[in-house]
């Protein structure tokens, strides 16, 4: 018969291995047909969910953007991004520096298209201040630290790729003082004309 100490050790090992488990999943919403890539690893829970160009057009037209600017954003592979700090045990923050993320497409590597780059390409007359504000807050922060107190955030990220493109994405983050990275393979930008329903 197992002693109490042995049972406790087994339970502890089971517990700690469950905490550090890493997973990458890809699921498709049966109603919208949109794909959600999920990464759970070292305190990070990242979800990247396809947004159809029409979804993105609807959002930015509703925020006062012109047809031309809206179409430009919508056709550059926009993902809805949701991030949570799932570390309830070590009390470490996670930090996501988007400038370090790498998009691998057709044997080339490029950074994701950050909100600052979008903003700098618009003239004052082209995009009104209220629209810029909506863009700023609807897109994912360029760098953000998530405390282990239930911090979570969401926002759009543009991969800067054409509709229908297939690519790999290398995600980098810090968990406490440790750097981590993971590559999500075979992600897909939704094709244009594809409806969310």
């Amino acid at each position: 018969m197992l002693s109490v100490n042995k049972v406790f050790t087994i339970l502890l090992l089971t517990f700690t291995s469950a905490v550090s488990v890493a997973s990458q999943t890809m699921t498709q919403n049966q109603d919208t047909k949109l794909i959600n890539w999920s990464l759970i690893e070292h305190g990070l829970h990242l979800q990247l969910i396809q947004r159809t160009p029409d979804q993105t057009r609807g959002f930015f037209l509703g925020r006062g953007f012109s047809n031309a600017v809206t179409n430009d954003i919508a056709t550059q592979c926009v993902f809805q991004t949701i991030v949570r700090n799932t570390d309830k045990y070590s009390g470490k923050a996670i930090t996501l520096p988007l400038p370090t993320w790498v998009v691998h497409y057709q044997n080339k590597s490029q950074p994701i298209k950050l909100k600052e780059k979008w903003d700098s390409q618009w003239s004052t007359s082209e995009v009104a201040m209220a629209s810029r504000l909506a863009f700023r807050w609807a897109t994912f922060p360029t760098q953000q630290t998530f405390e282990p107190s239930g911090d979570r955030n969401w926002g759009m990220i543009s991969m800067g790729l054409p509709p229908g493109a297939s690519f790999d994405l290398t995600v980098k983050w810090q968990h406490g003082d440790q750097n981590h990275s993971a590559t999500i393979k075979a992600m897909q930008c939704p094709a244009d004309g594809q409806n969310a329903k």
Partner: protein
């Protein structure tokens, strides 16, 4: 026999701890404590009735300051719990305001038809107040103590009527 029973109880206790520990959230794990505390940036904003509301109006009582937008899904998700919290705390010497980021009065007014809210909704139409507060994403909520200092922060939606969470804010009262 007694020893075996003791061991059995110990194992069961360990199992329960392990099974339920990920789901137990204390208030400390719901809000991030700001250290060192910093002065909350002053604001002077119009509410939906055209009144000017200032941060200094709330000096002497804990204040919940929420930054949000009507198009932000997690903001919409947490609004009902903010209203429920407001109904609990409004007569307890605790104040609450929600600062809308970058939208006009009509948009916010229309929103309140679907989400009846009775605490003050303030309009930061230019985003200048939001820029001065340490807001990274929407929603972000700050707890300001009676001395006007930011003491807690929550990024992302919360269930604001959770008793553990409200108790942390009550403890800030003088």
């Amino acid at each position: 026999m007694v020893k075996m029973l003791n061991n059995y109880l110990k194992i069961n206790f360990c199992l329960l701890l392990i099974i339920f520990s990920p789901f137990v959230q204390s208030a400390e794990t719901l809000l991030t404590k700001i250290t060192p505390v910093r002065n909350a940036p002053e604001f002077s904003l119009q509410d939906l009735d055209g009144n000017i509301v200032k941060l200094s109006d709330f000096r002497g009582k804990p204040l919940i300051v929420n930054f949000w937008a009507t198009w932000c899904p997690p903001c919409r998700k947490e609004m009902p719990s903010m209203e429920r919290a407001w109904q609990i705390i409004k007569d307890q010497g605790i104040a609450m305001v929600a600062i809308n980021v970058g939208e006009d009065e009509d948009t916010v007014f229309t929103f309140t038809a679907d989400y009846p809210l009775s605490f003050p909704l303030l309009l930061d139409t230019t985003g200048s107040v939001t820029q001065r507060w340490p807001v990274v994403g929407l929603p972000t909520t700050f707890i300001v103590n009676p001395e006007g200092k930011i003491v807690y922060r929550a990024i992302g939606e919360r269930e604001w009527d959770m008793p553990e969470l409200l108790n942390v804010i009550r403890q800030l009262k003088k």
